[in-house]
């Protein structure tokens, strides 16, 4: 049980700076997901918390104690690796008891804790197997079980589900969610998969090039992205961005248009938008609907029918592309002309540079 404070955390390899001043507060018992494209530094940040990477500057506090220079074992963290990192020469039982063996726990204590962890993960019947006799999902359970037996104050997950197939990934995602509500321990979870981020997190940290883009609850990030990057990163298919001309700004509202968009009034949400300049209008594909009186006009270039949803690629009159997702099975012909409508409250207006 511990809270974490990351203050101005930096990491550089020689002259290359990979983490550029990260400030995050993590409350006790919170499930925090670090998400971002590959190379954004999310795994490095996790490894810095685990103590596997040195901290170049800044402060890392776990449970109110500065642990910048503490050994991994002194930080009270347990880590689950993407590759499982199970010891292949030990049985599942020995694997799960490894941390306790190192700590010099008694046999009875080991037995009891391994049994407890196995019960939580429903893998009592696997305890005497070798890792090579397990499937991918079972191996990942062992890796998680090994973390549980140590009873850490912080769990660290480094893309734990990346190696699993789609169906198993969904199961394990739910298991991890259940595990968190059961153990009520602080968990930090790194992933590039936004579905995992959206479903698991109490708090999402979006990272890009070693910098925090936005921190907030999943829905906060989805509905009120702070910048173009977050807006484009979360949501599938990703948000449409239209280059628009700002015609007029009235307080918190701006009137924008472009050759394929009839003038429309949207909120500026306090962002620096100036009349006479260009801006970027973001509209989620799900917020578009077909309407005779729509403001957007274009032709269908591709239609994908998924049953529950139809995703259409459109080429707008000014040549830009647009993706629309209709929550119904809709028959669209290639070349068909559509007029689309959207709720101006659901649109986001960003300055051109983000």
């Amino acid at each position: 049980m511990a809270d974490l404070r990351l203050k101005g955390l930096r990491k550089s390899y020689g002259s290359a700076e990979v983490i550029r001043g990260v400030d995050i507060d993590i409350e006790d018992g919170e499930f925090v997901v670090f998400v971002g494209p590959s190379g954004c530094g999310k795994s490095t940040l996790l490894r810095m918390i685990a103590g596997l990477e040195d901290i170049t500057s800044g402060t890392l506090e776990i449970g109110g104690k500065r642990v910048n220079d503490a050994q991994p074992k002194e930080r009270g963290v347990a880590m689950v690796f993407q590759s499982y990192a199970i010891f292949p020469h030990m049985s599942v039982r020995e694997n799960m008891a490894f941390g306790l063996t190192i700590a010099g726990a008694s046999k009875a204590e080991k037995e009891q804790k391994v049994a407890e962890a196995a019960r939580i993960l429903q893998m009592e019947h696997l305890l005497d197997r070798r890792p090579s006799q397990l499937s991918g999902g079972q191996r990942q359970r062992v890796a998680i079980g090994r973390a549980i037996t140590r009873n850490p104050s912080v769990f660290l997950f480094d893309e734990p589900l990346s190696n699993l197939d789609a169906a198993l990934r969904m199961d394990m995602r739910m298991e991890i969610g259940k595990l968190h509500s059961q153990l009520d321990t602080t968990m930090i979870y790194v992933t590039h998969d936004q579905v995992e981020a959206m479903t698991l997190a109490d708090k999402i940290v979006v990272l890009k090039d070693g910098e925090v883009m936005q921190i907030g609850s999943p829905m906060e990030l989805y509905h009120n992205p702070a910048n173009l990057f977050v807006a484009g990163f979360l949501g599938a298919p990703s948000m449409n961005f239209l280059q628009v001309d700002v015609l007029d700004v009235q307080g918190e509202e701006a009137k924008v248009s472009n050759p394929s968009l009839e003038p429309i009034v949207v909120k500026t949400a306090g962002r620096p938008i100036e009349a006479g300049h260009k801006a970027t209008l973001g509209v989620r594909p799900q917020h578009l609907r077909v309407s005779e009186t729509g403001q957007l006009h274009g032709n269908v270039t591709l239609a994908e029918r998924l049953g529950s949803e139809t995703v259409a690629d459109l080429r707008l009159d000014d040549g830009s592309k647009l993706i629309a997702a209709f929550a119904e099975d809709k028959i669209l012909d290639v070349g068909q002309r559509l007029s689309l409508d959207f709720d101006s409250d659901a649109a986001h207006l960003f300055p051109v540079d983000g």
């Binding site: 880590m79 590759s83 499982y84 199970i86 010891f87 292949p88 890792p131 090579s132 090994r146």
Partner: protein, 384 residues
Amino acid sequence: MDNIAGTKSTLTWAVHISVLALVLLWLFPTMGLFVSSFRTGDQITQSGWWKAMFPAELTEQFRAADPDENRIETEAGVFVVEGDFRQEGLGGEISTWGTSSRDLAAYAPGDTADLGEGETFTVNADGTYVWQGNADQIEGRGQRVFITALEPPEFTLANYDQVLLDPRNSEGMAKAFFNTLTVVIPATIIPILVAAFAAYALAWMDFPGRALLIAAVVGLLVVPLQLALIPLLKLHNEIGIGKGYLGVWLAHTGFGMPLAIYLLRNYMVGLPRDIIENAKVDGATDFQIFTKIILPLSFPALASFAIFQFLWTWNDLLVALVFLIDSSGETTVMTKQIVELLGTRGGDWEILATSAFVSIAVPLVVFFAMQRFLVRGLLAGSVK
């Protein structure tokens, strides 16, 4: 590689043929030594080891019994000597016989040879013979007879008895065998123990100068050991080790160390980083990681180096000659013993073959016992 279209069949054949050639190249001499070590010297000179499983035509020289003692006068002036060559060591089925070395196959069994002036000699198929003539003819030395017989295949353990068990035999291999073991076992274990620690440090611990140390190890790989023989011996003499087992252990350890460190480091560096980091997060110290994780996982590499070092020290002559064997001959090793035998018993192929086979038997056993560790991948299942 397997699924590249079109290249499979020819490549597979080339591989199979090369493997077959290598196997035969290795198998024939080994089998030859093995078979020869169970044959007598006579058999070895008569026929090749590949005929050992078949009956062999063997021509042996016999003499009839001493006429002065054994002749019987059956009627006036006619003397007869009778006997049985079977009792004198004739074995197998007699195919031909003769009385002159110029014509060994003159007669068939049961024929009577006319030796001139009424003297006759008869050899029957059952090995009995009758030599008949007058008093002047049946006297002096017994008649020479060359008998060619088809001997059944015969194998003997006498060679091993002589080479290994004869307590009076100073040329035996028994003592040399145990001396070799005394040299080899510590000379295999010590370098592995030391090198495993060094390899772990060079692979997974960060310290200044690590890259230089690794470069030095690689450099030492190519230094011929002959360079160090004399200086090392001088050193041993000066610090009081002199010639003896301790000296040869240290020498083998030193000479094997660069390869050991190099091999083990390369193997350990290939172990998944995640496993080691996981152990670190779980609170293991470097020493615990080494003993609980690295050593068990490095077993294939340890075994393969152990085989290398074992074979090289087992077959070594040079290092043993320089650092171990003194004038007393008490500490002679098998390689040295075989060299001696080549000098003193150069013609006795059965002894040489047996000694040679004794010296290769242990490496064979070691190889076949350990080879599965070379093949088995212990890492299966650790990471995806």
